[in-house]
Structure formats: C-alpha cells, structure tokens
C-alpha cells in the first residue's frame, strides 16, 4: 500500500490551519497549486513597509515538507539550498526537505529511491515566515532559540521549542525567518505570533508582498 494518503492531492482544496485567522485579519485568498494561500492583506505597499520597518509574518504552510530518514551527510545546524529546496537536518539520520508545493511530488519520487524512509509531512507542519528588522524581537517573545548572527547565520537551521511547542527555525535570508511547527497548533501559534508582532508594530503580510520584500 502506498503512502499517498499522506500527501495532499490537487483534486481537493488544501487549507492552512491558520486560514481562519488570516481571513479574520483581512487576508485575500487565492488558490495556488491546490492550496488556499493568503496572498495579500491591506495591500502591497503597507505590507512591504511592515517587512522593511518592523516585522511582517506570512503563512507559508503550503510549502512542501518531506521528511527523510537515513544517512544524509548534511552538515548539522545549517540548511543547504539544493535543487530549489531547503535541506534541513534534524539529526545525522533525519532531515526535512522544504520545497515549493508544485515540486513536492517530484521531490518525493526522487527521494524514495535514495533514502530508506521518506514521508510527506506537508500537512503535519505549519509554517510562518517572519520578516523584517524586528523579526528577531518577535521571536524573542516566544522562543529561547538563539537567533543572533553568531549562533544562527543566514541558512542556519535551529530545531527547538517555539511558543512552548516543538518546532524549528530556518534563516532563509538576512532578516527573514521561516518557522515550522505542528499543524494542529496553527491557530494557537498564529495568536502567539500576531500578539508579539503587533505589540512591536508588525502584522500579517501576504506571500506576494513577502516575496517582493525578500527579493
């Protein structure tokens, strides 16, 4: 029996666990690669401004997330950018590969033959990117993971506790951080991040503004 039941299918609409909160915050949703994605809120200029001046956070739960088990040889503590995907090691025997949703099926196929266990965790993990000069201050409100340049340089990958739940943080670019956590905690984690970001003048941003801000 295949593991297909673990992978969201394009034949049905996939939703982020934070969709309700995003809608309540004024998100405009668009279907992309089978997912309802929060693409914008109050418009690109203010959203980009948030990422430039304080901190914007965007729901990126639609990213493909594939766990592989077996010896992977990736250096611990950092993510490796390879084939348009982030390869993030948890242990010498376990890693998570993050890719664009459209690439998940191909990635799964490729990995299946290479590693003894490959499991699609796209639905298991929710993801938020926090971006902006105050992003680290936002994180400081709910995680003790050391995100200073010396401990987490660009491309650093740090598993640990976020908002008192297991998670991981990937530093994708200068001040852009992708946080992964259990999907069932999506609604809870949105409130934690929104509370911290808003208290510092930040707020939600759509993935479109995020892409521009991080370009």
């Amino acid at each position: 029996m295949s593991y297909e039941f673990l992978t969201p299918a394009p034949t049905a609409l996939a939703r982020s666990p934070m969709e309700r909160q995003a809608l309540a915050a004024g998100a405009r949703l668009e279907q992309r690669d089978g997912w309802n994605v929060a693409v914008a809120y109050d418009g690109e200029p203010p959203e980009r401004g948030r990422c430039a001046a304080t901190a914007g956070f965007a729901d990126r739960s639609h990213l493909g997330k594939v766990e592989l088990q077996g010896s992977h040889g990736l250096p611990l503590g950092q993510a490796t950018r390879r084939d348009d995907a982030w390869w993030c090691p948890f242990t010498p025997e376990k890693a998570l590969v993050l890719c664009e949703p459209a690439d998940t099926a191909t990635l799964l196929e490729r990995l299946e033959g290479t590693f003894p266990t490959v499991v699609d965790l796209t639905s298991a993990l929710a993801a938020l990117t926090i971006s902006g000069p105050l992003a680290r201050e936002v994180f400081a409100r709910f995680t003790a993971i050391d995100l200073r340049d010396s401990a987490t340089p660009v491309e650093g990958f740090r598993p640990g506790s976020v908002g008192r739940t297991p998670g991981a943080i990937l530093r994708e670019a200068g001040e852009s951080w992708l946080m992964l956590f259990g999907a069932a905690l999506g609604s809870y984690m949105w409130t934690v991040v929104a509370d911290a970001a808003e208290s510092l003048g930040g707020g939600p941003v759509g993935v479109d503004a995020l892409a521009v801000a991080n370009a």
């Binding site: 299918a9 266990t117 639905s123 298991a124 050391d146 999907a183 609604s187 509370d195």
Partner: protein, 957 residues
C-alpha cells in the same frame, strides 16, 4: 519650595513642568523628577507608613534600596517613588495608612500594641479562643499587606512580556565599573547587554557630580552596540539565566559570561529614632541635591564611620546646605574631605556618632556623642536639625553573586562581608569587588569586561597581556582601601525603638527576644523575625542583623555569617514573572466546522474537541439508526517502517503483528515492563515493511517516546515517523455509512470487498485516504485517515453526501456512550496504573506462547499464573440513577472491593449501563453487586459481554 539653584548635571528640566496627583491633590514637578523628588520638593516629608507599627517613613536612600517610599501608582502597588519618573496625569496614592497618610489609626499599634506584637506574634497571639479566629482573621487580613489590588480584574491586568536575550556577556550594574566592563568587552567584539537599576546608567558617577563622565561612558557603550537596559534590576542568578525586569518586560538573559558590577550599599546606623523622616543615608541626601536640585534639609548633621559621609558633607555644603556638625566615629584620619570640612570651619566631632534622633512628625533634633553613652552621658551634643545624613559604612552587593555560587567572608578591617571565591563564568568589578574609588572602579570594570571577553575567545595576545598587567594593578590597589570604623550593633542604650529592619519593622529588641527564645542563628532569626524578608531583601538590614546576632550570642560576625542569598533580589510584580500566557492548544483541521455546527468544545488532553453538538443522546441514536460522523483526528498516528518493523511491534506489544497480512488490522494493547496497560490502539499493516499504528489521543506523545526509547536500545532497522498532526481522521459509522462512503469513492465498499478489519487505500471525494474498517462505536464503521490540509473539504463532502440519508455529526460524549455499549475500554478511565490485560478481561490479547520476548512478558507470566482479585465487568442498573464514575462497589455492605469506571444512560438500550472493577467471584453474568454512590445504595447486575451486538454481527455485516 526646596529647590536649589540649578545644579551642574542635574536630571530635571526646569523649563518643563509635569503635573500629577498624590492622594487626589495636584502636585507639580519638573520633567526628569522622580515621584519622590517631586513630592519632596513640594514639601512632603512622610512618604509611607511602616509595615507593622504604621510609623511615618520618609525618603532615606533615594536609590530604590529601602522600603520607605513605596507608593501605589495608577493602581499598581509597591512602586518606589524615589526611582519612578513622574509622568503627566499620573495618579499616585499612599499605601498602608487609613484613613490618611497624615492620620493613620493603625499607629495605635506603635503606641500601645507592643506587648501584642512581639517577634513571631502570629505564632503566639490571636490563637485563643479558637472560636474568635474568624473575627481575628478578618481584622488581620484587613491590616496585612501594603498596597491595595484593584477589585475589578480588568483593572489589575496589564500587558507584560517575556523577552529571551542571548548574549556573550551580561553586565549587571551600570556604574563606572559596569559601563567600563561593557565597553571593554564590546571593544573586543563581544555582544554585550548591560542592565542597570537606575533610570540612567552612571550610578555613583551621576550622584557625585561626575555626570559628564557617566554620559561619555554611556555614549561610548551605545556606540559600540552595547544593549543598555535601564530601570532594569536583575532579579536573580540561575544556572545560565539572569532574569532582568524592565518595566513591563522580563528579559531572560542567557549570557556566556556575567560581570557583576553591582556596587556597594550604604548602611544605616542603629539608634533610637533611626527611622524618623529626615534621617537619610548620606548618599540619598546627596542624590536629592545633585540629581534633582533639591535641598534635602535646611540644617544638616552628618554621622559617619568612613570618608563617604565626609564627602557627602562636602557635597551638601557645596550646594548650599548648612552642615551644623559632622560626627566621625573614627578617632583619627585626615582625608581630603576632612581637610575641606576643616577649611570651611565645619564643626567635626571625632570618635562620636549619633545616639538619638527625635521629632514629632519628622526630625527636629539629634544627640551626638561617643558610642554606647546612656542618657546624659559625658561628651554629648544635642543639636536642632531637620536632616541627619548617616553613613554607617557600606556592604558590597554580593547577593546576585552569591546566588550564582560566589562565597563571602567577613573582613574585620572593613566591617563587612567581602567576596572570597568566584564561580566559573562570573566576574566582579567595582565596589562589589573592593575597588572603591571611581578611578579604580573604572579600571577594575575594564579588566573584568576584557577578561570575560578573552575567556570567550575575543581579543588577541596583545590585549590579553595588557589586561593581565592591569589586573595586577587593580588587585594591588584593593589593599589600600580607606579606613573605616566598624560601628557597634546599636550606638546607644537610650529609650526608643531602634529599627534593624525597616521593611518588616523589626527592632534591635526583637532580635534580642528572638535569641532569648532560642532562635540564635541568623537563618532561624530570619524566619522568626522576618528580618531581610521584606522589599529591601537585606540591603539595609542584613549587616545590622548580623551585628546584633553576634552581639547577642557572643560570637564573631564571621561565625554568624549571612543568610542564604535567594531570588528575587528586587521586588517584582507577579504579572511580570508570569509574562504572556501561552496555552498551546491543538485543534483538528475541521475545528472551525465543529464550531459552526454549534459544538460544545472542551479540553481533551492538549486538544480542543467537540464534546457534543447540543444533544448527545440524539447524536448517539443517529449512529444506530442512520449514520454519524465524528472527528477522531486527535488519535496518535505513527508510521513504523523498515525490515524489522514487525519484530519491533512484536517486542512492544503482548500480541503478534509480524504475522499480520498487509491490508489487515489488529487491535493492540501496550503493556509496560510491569505488565500494566499503557495504551491501546489499532495497527494496520500497509505493506511488508510498514505499519500504521494508532494510539489513544492522550497517549500519542508517550507512545512515540516509548517506541523511540526501545528502538534506540534494540537497534532494529526501523524508522518511526509521528504523523499525528499530518493526518486528520473521521469515523463514519451507522447502518447507512456504507452507502454514504460508496457515493464518494470508487472503492468496493461491500461487506465482502471491504471486510471488517481491512485497511484500504482509496480516494474519497478526491482526497487520498487510508480507510480502516473498524468499529469502536459498534456499528458498521469506517475510519478515514487523510492529509489534514483536506480536513474541511472531506468533512463537507461527507456531510453533503450523508445529509439526505440522515448523517449527523456526533461528539466525544456520544462516542463514549456508544463504546460503553460495546464494552470497549478507555485506557486511563477504565484502567489505572495497576491494571493488566488479564484484569481488564482481555486475556486473549496476551500471547505468552509468542517466541519473541516482549515488554512485560515476565510480569504477565506471573500475572497469568497468579490469582486475580478483581476484574473489569459490565453492569446494568434497574434504577434509572447513573452512578458517579468512581462510585465504590461493596460486596455485602462491608469495605469497598471495587469501583465504577464508566456509567451512562443508554437510550438505545433503555437503561443505565456501566463498567466496574469487581471481585473475580462476582464476574459472572447475572451476579449482583452493590454500588454505593454518594449515600445511595444501588443494586447492579453483572454483564460480561458487550451490551450491544454482543457477538459483533452488526459490526461485521
């Protein structure tokens, strides 16, 4: 008006006024004032009433060290007026005085209450007669405490934050030493945080007129990227973590090295009347004059044991305050300050100290003379004055260091406890380390900061060599510390209360009594008298209490020692400690749909679950009559994959899984190594090498850990993946379930095509699913497991397809009733930590003949060969009363022999059913047991087979 002419470097802006209220009256201060300085400038001398005797208390230290100026600000109690900046519109109120600060009825405690309030009075008085305790309690509760917490919850909430901050180096204290340490470390490239209690870094530099240097150092530190936290006391030192409280934020600073530049605390002297408003520490008087341009008095007397007091006298003179006399306890000495005083013609009494202070509502006169002199002794001088500036020496602020593991020893020459041993990773600089002068403090700070940075690999050989040379100079300079005279525990034997502890109103006499009563060690005395337990946390009272204890017990101060240093070093609101509330709640991907359907949502472990949709009985009946749909996403779900996967499961469960055919499902009960039931669930074999394991909702985490633990030990070729949150699951059950399912999938859903305990892969409504044909609720049922991202899509599709056929959502409560009808156990409810599969009436699940050794085998073999005492059975009650879960089972009316674990009224069966542990002798159909429930005796009939569909015909159909 007590403002002096503008002072060089003062903190106030004389052009900008700030208006606030104190006890409802408008007060005008200046921008830069603290509440304390503004009130003092407006003529106020009484700031608070003391804790027990309700005596008047005025500004004393002006540095946030004592309890004298505690006020309530905008509803928040316990704020120190002398460090809290004034803000426009602020509402300030006094604490601990009724009806007013000027007339406090509880002052009677001071005048007449002495006999009723000895040390430890709460252990002795107000105890008899017992029947009056409710009255006493009411009065005591009313009298106890300092501030008033607002009654309305909304008014006592305010936003607080936790902020985690990693740093290379944390510097505690922002005086000359702290700033220099931060600069030296930052210059070498370290990431530095500096936390200072004051509103502006600089410490003594500011108070002693060196504001330009303070601001220069501050600017340099800022330029180097040092994070400066002001009005931010460090609360304690824990392993690798120092909490720093800054207004509404609690910074959890995790630094690799800590430099403590906490300074020294000026000490009071003990003499009758030492708490009168107008009696100040010399540093406090100077701070008022220097920082806020306020004259602390019109005629001052200074009593000192060291040069600090002399320097204060010089500073006061320079600011235009009349200094009538200076009493220096030292017989000799000719420091620069002494020379200056002489030059200015100030009357100096050598070998003298203050013997008494008197006045009605504030200080009016003092008596000076040789220490120990009684009433009318030789050499006494009585002087009128409204300010007595006292310097009883200093005590290094070692508490935080001691909390981090440093040791101290008593130094006879200096008359206080000094650092003797430092813990790894900690450095001390400035006065706390014995570097007293400002120049030395700066130098020792630079050495400590650079030393800490060097330990972390910053700097180079050259900087190391330079710092090493400096270190030696610093150490040498400490030998030349200025002379002090160690004051006696109490300066005179005159009448009147001498306060050793101002926070808790403990007098020298109280310490004497406590020793008489046998509390003759400093730790016992602390607990009995509560000395050092108040808001000052021993800053003002530790050393005086040690001196008193040494005198009372005839031992040396070194032998008396100090009390154990404990957090918090600074009073902190509970709200700041609590921070933002985090309550990680898991929600299924269909949670919003349940809400829309009106579900009552409750906690179930760490999940929020639909308990019912308003009518649990009707929901249960729908499952029997048409179909029901329940969200079971909370089940734990594991993928177990690898060539040894079957063997792993055989070793972990008492039954076999390696012989399970792919596409088939088997129930499993997991036992501990003591043979006790830990968890249960179903296991589906996906293919030769992989299994899909479900666990109970609350057991998911523990089972994953249990699997991982044993897997690491056994080194089997297996990989585990927890997919609990990745897969949602629903159970579609009831006579029309098959029809509903078939309408959404191409799968052959017939009884033959999809048999009971089959596991199949198929798409349902376009969603890839793993379908398990199992029946927890007793009807034909399908458990659909699918990517949680499709939760709402699949739920909607099923509800839409099933709606016309009578499909109804059902919650946790109807599910519990339905499973009870089938006598399916709930682990943790029907079992406890002593339950074995044998006791739980599941002997069939234990395969003792299994060739594979398994967890709990030995214990289960023992259990199998022994006699069971009790076992789990079902029961029926004729009476319509539903017994409480936990009600006891009585054999013949004697002691309890078992208990009810589950009970419900079943509309389907038309009666009350339940499960209970009963003696084995009663575990037979038709036996009668007595249940005692909250005073009622109920006669129940034992049932050993499921109440509904006992042979599973419906289930398998």
């Amino acid at each position: 008006m007590t403002r002096l002419p503008p002072q060089d470097g003062e903190r106030v802006d004389r052009e900008r006024e700030v208006t606030f209220t104190f006890d409802g009256r408008e007060v005008t201060g200046l921008e830069g004032d603290t509440i304390g300085s503004a009130l003092f400038a407006s003529g106020r001398r009484t700031f608070s009433r003391s804790f027990k005797y309700h005596r008047r208390r005025g500004l004393m230290c002006c540095a946030g060290q004592c309890p004298n100026c505690l006020v309530q600000v905008d509803g928040a109690p316990g704020v120190r007026a002398c460090t809290e900046p004034v803000q426009e519109g602020m509402e300030v109120e006094h604490m601990n005085a009724r009806p007013s600060l000027e007339f406090d009825a509880m002052r009677a405690t001071d005048l007449f209450g002495g006999p009723f309030t000895p040390p430890g009075f709460y252990y002795k008085t107000f105890i008899r007669p017992r029947r009056l305790w409710p009255l006493y309690e009411k009065i005591l509760r009313h009298a106890a405490g300092l501030g008033k917490v607002p009654k309305e919850q909304a008014e006592r909430e305010w936003r607080t934050e936790y902020r985690r901050r990693h740093a290379d180096i944390l510097v505690v204290g922002g005086g000359a030493a702290g700033l220099s340490a931060a600069i030296a470390a930052a210059e070498l490239g370290a990431d530095v945080v500096l936390a200072d209690e004051g509103p502006e870094p600089g410490g003594r530099l500011l108070a002693e007129g060196n504001h330009a240097r303070a601001r220069e150092l501050t600017a340099r530190a800022r330029d180097l990227g040092v994070e400066l936290l002001t009005s931010a006391p460090a609360l304690g030192a824990f392993d690798g973590l120092v909490p720093v409280w800054e207004r509404d934020t609690l910074h959890q600073v995790r630094a690799q090295r800590i430099v403590y530049a906490t300074g020294a605390i000026e000490q009071p002297l003990l003499f009758p009347g030492n708490d009168l408003p107008g009696v100040m520490l010399s540093g406090g008087a100077v701070r008022l004059a220097t920082l806020y341009g306020i004259s602390p008095g019109s005629r001052a007397v200074v009593a000192t044991v060291d040069d600090r007091g002399l320097e204060a006298a010089v500073a006061l003179l320079a600011r235009g305050v009349e200094v009538a006399t200076v009493a220096d306890l030292r017989e000799h000495g000719n420091s620069d300050a002494m020379k200056q005083l002489m030059r200015q013609g100030v009357h100096v009494l050598r070998g003298a100290t203050v013997l008494q202070a008197e006045g009605r509502s504030s200080l009016q006169r003092v008596t000076l003379g040789p220490p120990g002199a009684g009433e009318g002794g030789a050499g006494e001088h009585e002087l009128t004055c409204d300010l007595l500036a006292v310097s009883g020496g200093s005590a290094p602020a070692t508490s935080l260091l001691a909390q981090s593991g440093a040791r101290t020893r008593y130094d006879e020459r200096l008359g206080h406890f000094v650092l003797s041993e430092m813990p790894e990773g900690a450095h001390a600089a400035g006065e706390v380390a014995g570097s007293g002068s400002l120049f030395e403090a700066e130098r020792s700070g630079a050495v400590a900061g650079a030393g800490a940075a060097h330990e972390l690999g910053f700097g180079d050989d050259e900087s190391r060599a330079r710092v090493e040379t400096e270190r030696k100079t610093v150490l040498n300079s400490r030998d030349g510390m200025p002379e002090v005279a160690v004051p006696p525990a109490v300066t005179s034997s005159r009448r009147g209360k001498c306060f050793a502890c101002l926070c808790e109103d403990v007098t020298a006499k109280d310490i004497h009594l406590s020793v008489e009563e046998g509390y003759d060690s400093i730790e016992l005395s602390k607990r009995y008298t509560t000395t050092t337990m108040g808001p000052c946390q021993g800053r003002m009272c530790q050393l005086p209490a040690v001196r008193l204890m040494a005198e009372e017990t005839g031992t040396s101060l070194a032998d008396v020692g100090t009390t154990t240093a404990r957090p918090p070093w600074h009073a902190v609101p509970m709200g700041a400690l609590a921070g933002r509330p985090f309550e990680p709640a898991k929600r299924s991907s269909m949670h919003a749909r349940h809400r829309e359907l009106g579900a009552n949502v409750l906690w179930a472990g760490d999940w929020r679950r639909a308990y019912d949709y308003g009518d649990p009985r009707a929901e249960a009946l729908a499952v029997h009559e048409t179909a029901g749909l329940i969200d079971v996403s909370t089940l734990g779900k594991l993928i177990v994959r690898g060539p040894d996967a079957g063997e792993l499961l055989d070793r972990l469960y008492p039954n076999r899984f390696s012989n399970l055919a792919p596409g088939r499902i088997r129930y499993g009960v997991m036992a501990s190594d003591a043979g006790r039931i830990m968890d249960d669930g179903t296991i589906c074999r996906l293919d030769d090498d992989s299994f899909y394991v479900t666990t109970t909702s609350s057991g998911a985490g523990a089972v994953y850990q249990w699997f991982s633990w044993w897997l690491a030990d056994w080194r089997l070729n297996v990989h585990l993946t927890d997919v609990t949150q990745g897969l949602s699951a629903v159970n579609l059950a009831g006579p029309r379930a098959r029809e509903i399912l078939a309408s959404l999938t191409d799968l052959d859903c017939s009884a033959e095509g999809f048999a009971y305990l089959d596991g199949k892969r198929a798409d349902v409504a376009g969603v890839p699913c793993l379908l398990l044909r199992i029946g927890f609720v007793g009807e034909v049922g399908y458990e659909l497991h699918f990517p949680s991202a499709h939760g709402e899509h699949l739920w909607d599709a099923l509800m839409e397809a099933g709606g016309p056929l009578g499909l109804r959502p059902f919650g946790l409560e109807p599910q519990r009733l339905l499973r009870l009808q089938k006598m399916h156990i709930l682990v943790g409810q029907d079992t406890d930590s002593e339950s074995t599969p044998f006791g739980a009436a599941m002997p069939w699940i234990v395969k003792l003949d299994k060739e594979q050794p398994f967890i709990g085998k030995w214990a289960l073999e023992k259990a199998a060969s022994g006699e069971l005492e009790t076992t789990l059975v079902g029961f029926r009650l004729a009476d319509g009363h539903v017994p409480t879960e936990g009600a006891v089972v009585l054999p013949d009316g004697d002691g309890p022999v078992g208990q009810v674990t589950s009970a419900r009224f079943s509309p389907q069966l038309g009666g009350v059913i339940g499960m209970a542990w009963v003696p084995v002798s009663l575990a037979k159909d038709g036996a009668s047991v007595t249940i005692s429930d909250e005073g009622r005796r109920l006669q129940a009939e034992v049932v050993t087979k499921p109440f509904y569909d006992p042979d599973g015909e419906v289930l398998r159909s």
